[in-house]
C-alpha cells in the first residue's frame, strides 16, 4: 500500500529553487533510504513531504489509512533532536510517554498498556535504567536513543527519520537498521530514512532515493533499486545534458 506519493514537488527558499520536480514514493513494508551530498536539501524534502514546509508546486499525498484500514500513524525523528532544547526539564520517562499522546489521545489518562509500551520502547534502546534521569543529564548518544524510544512508544505505521543514528556507535546503529528492516518486512511498516552513509545501510534497506545537483544548483531525485553506481552515473550524465541544453 502506498503511504507516501510525491509528484513534481518544487520548493523555493527565499525565491531560490532548492528542490525542483521531485517525485518519489514509499510503500508499506519498505525500508527506503534518502541520500545526497551535503546541502542536498534532504531534510527540506522530508519536511515538505510532512507539510512542515509549504511547497511551491507539486502534489504530496500521504495515505490517511494504514494497511489494516486504521488511521495511519506517523513518527518523525528530526535531525539532531538530541542537541535541541538541551536544558529541557523533563524526565526520560515523561519524554518517552509523550510518544503515546497522539495515539491514546491528548486528554485521556494513560493506562497500564501505555506504560508497557513505554517500558518496551526504553528497553529496546537500553535506556530503561535511565527513566528517572533528566534529559539534560544524558550524553548526545543517549538523548538520540530516548528520541528513538519515544518514536517506538508511539507504535507508528510510517517512520520518517532524519539521520537517526547520529551520535550512536556502529553496533547500536547496525542494531537500529536491523530493527527498522524487521519493522518493515515483518510488521508491514514503512520507513523513510535520511542517511549520509548509504553503504552502512545497504544490507538492510530495500531502496535508495538519491538527490543529485545539476550545474544550476537544482536538485533532482532518482530511485536507485539495483546497480547503484551505474544508475547514479547515468543519472548524473543525464542531468548534465539537460543543464547544458
Amino acid at each position: 500500500m502506498r503511504y507516501i506519493n510525491v509528484e513534481n514537488l518544487t520548493f523555493y527558499y527565499d525565491r531560490e529553487p532548492v528542490l525542483e520536480n521531485i517525485s518519489y514514493h514509499v510503500d508499506s513494508g519498505e525500508f527506503v533510504t534518502l541520500t545526497g551530498e551535503n546541502g542536498a536539501a534532504k531534510s527540506t524534502l522530508i519536511k515538505t513531504t510532512l507539510g512542515i514546509l509549504k511547497p511551491k508546486k507539486g502534489k504530496i499525498t500521504i495515505s490517511s489509512k494504514n494497511n489494516r484500514g486504521e488511521k495511519l500513524r506517523i513518527a518523525y525523528l528530526p535531525q539532531q533532536v538530541a542537541s535541541f532544547n538541551a536544558g529541557f526539564p523533563s524526565s526520560v520517562h515523561e519524554f518517552v510517554m509523550s510518544g503515546r499522546y497522539p495515539r491514546q489521545g491528548w486528554f485521556k489518562k494513560m493506562g497500564a498498556h501505555d506504560l508497557e509500551h513505554v517500558k518496551a520502547a526504553l528497553d529496546s534502546v537500553g535506556m530503561w535504567d535511565y527513566r528517572d534521569k533528566r534529559i539534560g543529564e544524558l550524553s548526545g548518544g543517549q538523548k538520540q536513543r530516548i528520541a528513538i524510544a519515544r518514536m517506538f512508544a508511539s507504535d507508528p505505521d510510517l517512520f520518517i527519520l532524519d539521520e537517526p543514528t547520529t551520535g550512536m556507535d556502529d553496533v547500536s546503529s547496525s542494531d537500529f537498521y536491523q530493527l527498522m528492516h524487521h519493522a518493515a518486512h515483518k510488521h508491514g511498516k514503512a520507513v523513510l530514512m535520511v542517511t549520509h552513509d548509504p553503504e552502512e545501510v545497504k544490507d538492510f534497506a530495500d531502496r535508495n532515493i538519491h538527490l543529485l545537483k545539476d550545474k544550476n544548483g537544482k536538485f533532482a531525485c532518482f530511485d536507485l533499486h539495483t546497480d547503484r553506481d551505474r544508475v547514479l552515473q547515468e543519472a548524473q550524465e543525464e542531468l548534465e545534458e539537460k543543464a547544458n541544453v
Partner: protein
C-alpha cells in the same frame, strides 16, 4: 506580625500576590523554554502604549491595554514564524516603539489626565482594588484549567514544534492562544508589578524551578511554590522596610536564584 492583615490594602495586595503566583510562573516556564523570555518584557512595554491610548481616547486604560497587548502578542507570533532568525530585532523594535508611543501621548496629555507613566512603569501592588484582585483570580483559574487540560500538547510543542505538528497538533493556533493569554496576564499584572519588573516576576521563578525540578510536572509545581514564597515574602518585607514592593519582590527572587544555583553547584561538587 499579623498587624498587616488589619489593612484592606495589604489584604488585597497579598491576595493579588497569591493569584499572580498561580498563573505567572506557569506562563513563565513556557516562555523560558520556548526562548520567548524577551516577549514578556516587550509586551509589558507595549502595554504602556495601551495605557496611553486609554488616556488619548478617554477610555478605561485596562481595556485599551488589553486590546493593545493582545494585538501585539498575535503580531509577535506572526513575526516569530516569518523572521525566526531575526526575532530579537523585531522584539526590540516593538519594545522601544511601545515605550516611545506611551511617552509621546502621555507627555502631550499632561495636565489633562491624572495618569502618570511612573505608576505603570513601577506599579504598586498595595494600590490594587478588590475588583482587580477578582480579575487576577479569574485569570489564575483560567490559566490553571488551561494548563491542566492542555499540558500534554504544550509539553510536546515546547520540546519541538515540528514533532508536535507531525503528531497532529494545531501548533500555530496553540502558539497564538498562548501568546494572547500571556498578553492578558501581563496587561492585568502591570498595575501591580509595573512594566519594568513584570518579566522578572514571570521568568525568575521559572528559572529557579528549572534548576530544581527533575520532571516537567515537578518544575511547574516548584515554580508556583517559589513564586508564592517570593511574592508574599517580598510584599511583607516591603511593608516592614517601607520599600517599594515590586523591587523587594524582584530582589528576593534574585537572591533565591543565586542561593539555589550555589546550592546546586555545591551538591554537584
Amino acid at each position: 506580625m499579623f498587624e498587616l492583615f488589619q489593612y484592606d490594602f495589604m489584604r488585597n495586595a497579598l491576595l493579588a500576590a497569591t493569584a499572580i503566583s498561580i498563573f505567572s510562573p506557569l506562563l513563565g516556564v513556557f516562555l523560558v523554554l520556548r526562548r520567548q523570555s524577551l516577549m514578556s518584557d516587550t509586551l509589558s512595554h507595549v502595554s504602556l502604549a495601551g495605557v496611553a491610548f486609554g488616556v488619548l481616547l478617554s477610555w478605561n486604560p485596562t481595556i485599551t491595554t488589553l486590546i493593545t497587548v493582545v494585538i501585539a502578542a498575535v503580531f509577535l507570533e506572526y513575526l516569530r514564524t516569518i523572521y525566526h532568525n531575526y526575532m530579537e530585532i523585531a522584539t526590540a523594535i516593538l519594545m522601544s516603539a511601545g515605550l516611545a508611543i506611551a511617552l509621546l501621548i502621555l507627555n502631550s496629555s499632561k495636565g489633562a489626565t491624572s495618569v502618570s507613566l511612573e505608576q505603570y512603569l513601577f506599579g504598586s501592588i498595595i494600590t490594587i482594588s478588590l475588583s482587580q484582585v477578582i480579575m487576577l483570580f479569574v485569570l489564575a483559574a483560567v490559566v490553571l484549567l488551561g494548563f491542566i487540560l492542555f499540558l500534554r500538547p504544550l509539553y510536546v510543542m515546547t520540546f519541538d514544534e515540528d514533532t508536535a505538528f507531525v503528531d497532529g497538533l494545531p501548533v500555530r493556533w496553540i502558539s497564538i492562544a498562548f501568546n494572547i493569554v500571556t498578553g492578558i496576564a501581563i496587561a492585568l499584572m502591570i498595575p501591580a508589578a509595573g512594566a519594568l519588573l513584570v518579566s522578572a516576576i514571570m521568568v525568575l521563578p521559572a528559572s529557579i524551578a528549572m534548576r530544581l525540578g527533575k520532571s516537567f510536572k515537578a518544575v511547574l509545581f516548584i515554580s508556583v511554590i517559589v513564586s508564592f514564597i517570593g511574592l508574599n515574602a517580598g510584599l511583607i518585607a516591603s511593608y516592614y522596610m517601607d520599600a517599594p514592593a515590586s523591587a523587594a519582590i524582584t530582589l528576593i527572587f534574585i537572591v533565591l536564584f543565586l542561593v539555589t544555583s550555589s546550592l546546586k553547584r555545591l551538591i554537584r561538587a
